[in-house]
């Protein structure tokens, strides 16, 4: 799956030039642009997501896991309570599991609120998973431990949150570190 950093500037250039109908285009730029167009995979859903992500309309999360990690997107999903289950807030770096790209991130918390806006100002206990690369380890909350996430703001379909405490453990070897993260999520 393509990451934000993989979408070349030349693609944007071609798009904007197509829109303005400009005729005189340097050959080398045109060739680069063609190569770029040919290498873009074209599934409907991922194209839409890619555009959103390219335009930075899909949120992001900035984490620290042995160094800074930034995900290409961040979505917030609120599932209201039913009998036998509380409301659940989850933050994830992908719309569907099939479109997951790396770095990938998943945070989920049981919350006591009937709606998302009610959570503003609350600190919730969450499980958290971060996987910076496809081949590398996953950092996560061990066993039944949690990280604390403060819901800073909910404005329309944008959610801002940050990690305020907790520990993540590495899947290989068990090294731990403090959980650090800021989320700028969109409700899809």
């Amino acid at each position: 799956m393509r990451r934000l950093s993989q979408v070349p500037l030349a693609g944007l250039l071609v798009l904007s030039m197509a829109l303005c109908g400009c005729g005189d285009v340097a050959d080398s730029v045109q060739k680069t642009a063609n190569q770029v167009q040919q290498s873009v995979t074209k599934t409907v859903e991922s194209a839409k997501t890619q555009v959103q992500e390219k335009m930075e309309m899909a949120g992001s999360s900035e984490l620290t896991v042995e160094g800074p990690v930034k995900t290409a997107a961040c979505y917030a999903i609120f599932t209201p309570a039913v009998a036998g289950r509380p409301s659940v807030l989850s933050l994830r770096s992908y719309r569907q599991a099939e479109s997951e790209a790396f770095p990938a991130m998943f945070v989920q918390a049981n919350v006591s609120a009937a709606t998302l806006p009610e959570l503003v100002g609350q600190t919730v206990s969450a499980t958290m998973f971060v996987k910076p690369t496809a081949e590398g380890p996953t950092w996560s909350t061990a066993g039944e431990t949690t990280v604390q996430v403060k819901i800073v703001a909910v404005e329309g379909s944008n959610v801002t949150a940050e990690v305020t405490g907790g520990t993540l453990t590495r899947s290989d070897g068990g090294a731990t570190q403090n959980a650090v993260g800021k989320f700028t999520a969109v409700v899809p």
Binding site: T79, R85, F106, Q108, S171
Partner: protein
């Protein structure tokens, strides 16, 4: 050398229950288990006792041999040992006739003991004045044979009556009595001394062998055919149940009314029983092939085909049962019915990983949920808050296990390395074998176990696909794979902790059961102790006859192979020498699909 007297002290009174089962690293001289109980047990017990006594005698003889006290070795002991080895070989051959791997192994033991004795014998014959002793023995042997020749008319009478069992018994009582004397004599001497018996012996040997063969094959065919499961009937039962469920939401099975979900559980169990019967029938079919020297037999293929056919049909058939229930139920009854179906379907999918059942059953359950749009929305919401949790937990468990497995070898690989044939070691696998699919003995099991087990014991290894054994054994077995399987004690308290964590993560409680198949499977497998992988130290190695392992498969070990899978077989003449390796693994970590626990 002194001439010796012979008492029949070594005609043994026996108790089959004393026989230890299957050779291992700790008990390398344990005999291979039997699968047949009609004719084999007495011979098996006798063979074991003969071997043990010869082993003790050979040890004494060898120590005298090594301390150069050759002339102190008692000819009577050597003669007795030689005769016992002979008898062991004969019993081994007769057990082979019954399709018993134990017979093949006893024959190899006899060969081994014979070789141990051969060089001692040669030295004894070269001792000064040995010739005088040999002459005396020859004379005594001749006298004994003459005396026993008086029983020939009786033997002839038994021949005339076609009483092969008695004739064989009496003939070999005589031969076994004379045999110790013949130890030191030449082939020509032997032939001369036994010449009065030549004719009756030829007739009795031929006819008694044919008789034993006939009885053996009849017994094997009977057992095989009695075991063969009736798969068409099982399928018909599913179809009948489907019709009833479609009308009334239940079906009467063995006098009891069962609902759709209860019927899934019922057919899961019925399939497991049929699966065990199929494996046993196949084991006996292979034994029949070995005993009749007809490899492969058409019956073997018929068994495999019947199971293969059932396996392709059962998934859609069970899905049809769920669909019939779906057609009948009202929207208001969907929630209860769906949640009732989840546990038995979850269990069935875990049991039947060798069959195409997951797709049709999952689809049928989805259809059921959709009959109530409100409930379908609840299921979708539940999945929205659990599917990703499970996916990430599985990923973490996989990575944790991969890191832990770094210093471990898959147990099959360790087996191959430890038990491969070399120029100096007999082993179980060919020198150039790339895998463990073909394992066979060409020497006494003990020889291989004593030499090669040290290369496996204490080594770190992993085993895959562990199913918890039912009951209180607190152990699991790793799925049989290419002649290898593994037994693992399970730290159920640790597993319980993992299961509890999962319950919380999956919002599961008695009042509020999980609403997805994935969550149901996760919890139920965790509570049972089913595992994707374990890592630990090899603590024991056992050899079992390949066909015996399946011919005697207990119900508790039904999932040694997943439902829908048949045990491997390849049609070769060495059926009886083919073995299975079982390892005992002491785990240091257990990997469930969704969590890993360390075992202190």
């Amino acid at each position: 050398m002194r001439a010796f007297n012979f008492l029949c002290c070594w005609l043994l009174a026996l108790s089959p229950s004393l026989v230890l089962a299957n050779p291992s690293d700790k008990e390398p001289y344990g005999p291979l288990d039997l699968h047949g109980q009609e004719y084999a047990p007495e011979m098996h017990a006798t063979a074991k006792q003969l071997f043990d006594r010869s082993k003790d005698d050979l040890a004494k003889i060898e120590s005298q041999f090594k301390s150069k006290d050759v002339d102190k070795i008692k000819p009577a002991v050597v003669g007795k040992t030689h005769a016992a080895i002979n008898q062991l070989r004969r019993l081994g051959a007769r057990l082979r006739q019954l399709g018993e791997p134990a017979g093949a192994e006893f024959e190899l033991r006899a060969q081994m003991q014979h070789q141990m004795l051969a060089s001692v014998l040669q030295q004894m014959k070269n001792v000064p004045n040995a010739q005088r002793g040999i002459d005396a023995i020859r004379s005594e042997a001749g006298q004994l044979a003459q005396a026993r020749a008086k029983q020939i008319p009786k033997l002839q009478k038994l021949i005339d009556q076609n009483n092969w069992r008695e004739a064989d018994k009496e003939l070999y009582e005589i031969f076994d009595e004379i045999e110790p004397y013949l130890t030191f004599l030449s082939v020509e001497d032997r032939a001369s001394i036994l010449s009065p018996f030549r004719e009756v012996a030829a007739t009795i040997d031929m006819k008694a062998t044919q008789d034993r063969q006939r009885l053996a094959l009849e017994s094997l065919v009977k057992r095989r055919d009695e075991l063969r499961p009736d798969f068409p009937k099982l399928l018909a039962d599913v179809q009948a149940a489907t019709a009833s469920v479609g009308k009334a939401g239940k079906h009467n099975m063995d006098g009891k009314d069962l609902t759709g979900p209860e019927l899934i559980a019922h057919f899961d169990q019925a399939w497991r029983q049929a699966h065990v019967a199929h494996c046993k029938a196949l084991g006996v079919a292979w034994a029949y092939e070995a005993a009749s020297q007809q490899v492969p037999s058409p019956e073997r293929q018929a068994l495999l085909d019947a199971y293969a056919k059932f396996t392709t049909e059962v998934g859609p058939a069970l899905a049809a049962l769920v669909k019939a229930d779906t057609a009948r139920v009202n929207a208001s009854g969907v929630a209860a019915l769906y949640t009732a179906y989840l546990p038995p379907v979850a269990d069935l999918l875990d049991h039947a990983t060798g069959a195409p059942v997951e797709t049709p059953l999952t689809a049928a359950l989805d259809e059921l949920a959709k009959k109530s749009p409100e409930f379908a929305a609840q299921v979708a919401a539940y999945r929205a808050v659990t599917d990703e949790t499970l996916r990430w937990k599985a990923r973490v468990a996989e990575e944790q296990a991969k890191a832990k497995a770094a210093e471990h070898e898959p147990v099959e690989q360790r087996a191959l390395r430890a038990f491969k044939r070399t120029d100096s070691a007999v082993g179980l696998f060919a020198m150039d074998a790339a895998d463990t699919k073909k394992a066979w003995i060409s020497d006494a099991a003990a020889t291989t176990l004593i030499k090669d087990s040290p290369q496996a014991i204490g080594q770190k290894a992993t085993a895959n696909a562990i199913t918890a054994l039912p009951g209180s054994s607190q152990a699991g077995i790793a799925q049989y794979n290419a002649r290898i399987y593994t037994r693992v004690p399970l730290a159920m308290e640790k597993m319980a902790d993992g299961a509890k964590s999962l319950e919380i993560a999956l919002f599961s409680s008695e009042k509020s059961p999980p609403l997805s198949l994935a969550a149901t499977r996760a919890l139920r497998s965790a509570r049972r102790g089913d595992l994707v992988q374990v890592g630990g130290t090899i603590g024991g190695v056992y050899l079992e006859g390949h066909l015996t392992r399946f011919a005697t498969l207990p119900e508790a070990a039904a999932l040694l192979l997943p439902l829908g899978t048949s045990p491997d077989s390849y049609g070769q003449q060495d059926q009886l020498e083919q073995v299975v390796l079982r390892f005992d693994l002491q785990p240091t970590w257990l990997r469930h699909q969704y969590f890993v626990v360390e075992v202190p």
